[in-house]
């Protein structure tokens, strides 16, 4: 291991040696090194977050046929710093009757639940926080902490709109967790492991990117990730036109900033997970073997593309009604994901030991068949719905003639 081939681990090892050189015991030296590593990772994520504010504002502007921030710096790239200054010098208001401790804890917990996810993101083959063998469940667990933070924010604000927003958000998150977990199980079945590192490796040599073998799971994961993020079309928790801003209505200054930054970073992180689970993570046809940083750049680009798709959906699709949202989940997404899971599990056993291209092709065709049957079933259902409505329309027309 030299500095050039693996800089991060080289520096970590060097730090360990320095600390033990000072006469510290190896356990403590290791713990301090890991702590510093975690700090660097969080710092990187937060710096990226500042950049994401600019990306989000610029992209939404383009979707809405505007220019977006363009005054401070080239292409307005320093706009986020002006935003930060504004947020910091705003008055910090705690509403009357608010539960102070819970009110102040909620934004911190919200951002923490996102930063926790960075512990398991493999940026490159040798750059990752930790390789958990239950990484995908860890993703769900961090999401449930996010849910908790939102309900805390909504309740402690002492505001009816905030509480309504929190209720809606929790209803969405708890129900969309189910298709998400099922979609996460599909890469697990194909790989045979819940570790994101193993999943990335399985999509490399002698494997295909999983969006070929599991296209439906990719779409289901994307939809449930958007719902988990609470972004449009599932942004009922904010719904400016109905409940003003939902759970963060009462937050001002940097406390609001934490929610906002958390949301952007969360969206980017889910773009990253989409890349890892279904689009090969840091791998790009051997290019990642050049240098760990090349792998990291490939990963970040893929994550940005995933993030861009999430933004694309957000600024194109209007908000849907809450009963439609829950019906879509329970009556469509959950059964579909369970069918896909069962078919994948059975085919995975049947196809064990076959060539990769046979495996990928059969899996893909199975997904196409399931998708086609689903569309046919939906068409038949909507046709029967229209049939049921037609007589009513005719009788109205006859009544009008008389």
């Amino acid at each position: 291991m030299t500095f050039w081939s693996d800089p991060i681990n080289f520096v970590a090892q060097w730090l360990r040696d320095v600390f033990t050189g000072w006469g510290w015991n190896p356990g403590l030296a290791n713990a301090i090194t890991l702590l510093l590593g975690a700090l660097v990772l969080i710092l990187f994520a937060m710096l990226l977050d500042i950049f994401l504010v600019w990306v989000e504002r610029k992209v939404v502007a383009r979707f809405q046929d505007r220019l977006g921030p363009n005054r401070i710096g080239p292409f307005g790239i320093f706009q986020p710093f002006a935003d930060i200054v504004k947020l910091i010098i705003k008055e910090d208001i705690t509403p009357a009757g608010a539960d102070k401790l819970v009110y102040n804890l909620a934004p911190i917990l919200s951002l923490t639940s996102v930063l926790l996810l960075w512990a398991i993101l493999p940026l490159a083959a040798t750059i990752y926080g930790t390789d958990l063998n239950v990484a995908l469940l860890y993703l769900v667990a961090a999401g449930s902490l996010g849910t908790l933070s939102i309900i805390m924010a909504g309740w402690s604000s002492n505001n009816k709109y905030a509480l309504l927003g929190a209720f809606r958000m929790v209803a969405a998150m708890v129900s969309y967790e189910i298709p998400m977990v099922v979609a996460l199980l599909i890469p697990t079945i194909i790989t045979g492991s819940m570790s994101v590192k193993e999943i990335t490796l399985a999509q490399g040599d002698g494997g295909v990117w999983f969006f070929i073998a599991a296209p439906l799971a990719t779409v289901i994961f994307l939809i449930s990730a958007i719902a988990e993020l609470g972004r449009s079309p599932f942004d009922l928790n904010e719904a400016e036109s109905e409940i003003v801003a939902g759970f963060h209505i009462e937050y001002t200054g940097m406390k609001f900033g934490l929610f906002y930054a958390g949301e952007l970073l969360h969206a980017f992180t889910f773009g990253g997970f989409l890349a890892i689970l279904f689009f090969g993570g840091y791998r790009f046809f051997g290019l990642e073997n050049l240098h760990p940083f090349v792998g990291a750049i490939i990963f970040l680009v893929k994550a940005l593309i995933g993030y861009w798709v999430i933004m694309w959906v957000k600024y194109t699709v209007p908000r849907i009604r809450i009963d439609h949202m829950l019906g879509f989940n329970w009556k469509f997404l959950t059964p579909l994901s369970l069918v896909v899971l069962m078919v994948t599990a059975v085919l995975n056993q049947v196809l064990a030991g076959t060539e990769t291209w046979v495996y990928a092709l059969v899996m893909f065709l199975a997904n196409v068949v399931i998708g086609w049957l689903t569309l046919e079933a939906l068409r038949a259902y909507s046709r029967s719905q229209r049939k049921a409505e037609e007589p009513a329309v005719e009788s109205v027309a006859q009544a009008a003639q008389h």
Partner: protein
Amino acid sequence: MTAIQIIFILSALVILGAAVMVVSTRNLVHAALYLVATLFGVAVLYAILDATFLTVVQVVVYIGAIAILFIFAIMLTRREMRDQGEQLNKGWGAAALIGLLTFGGLFMLLNNWRGVNATAAALPSGFDGVVELGTALVSTDAFVLPFEVASVLLLAALIGAVYVAGTKK
């Protein structure tokens, strides 16, 4: 004192302190949030014991589902979040006595057990707890019967809930 012991003592203090607050605070939502802290502390204990799967499931199930359900139930059923009633009932003396006796018994038991001071052996390399657990749950000479019985029970509960909630036509 090793790092593990320090983490254990800290999380034990958090668990016990939060558990006392669960039953002593008058604000019901605070009680639920202290319960979350207690459950999170237990998850930390599982993490110390290298039981990664249990750690994560503890957070997903207890914090992500059960605690959220508690908070929902409190918010939807109670108008006043403060409990005004007596915090102790008549049986508190007997309860304290039984609690003390149980604690004393456990203390004696663990004090006489040699394993209490031993450090855990390191896991063999390549040991994957999730794989072991998964295999044990479906192999016939381990837990396949309890696993299936629990599945059937949950399915029955699910169907029962749908039937009770469904509108009759």
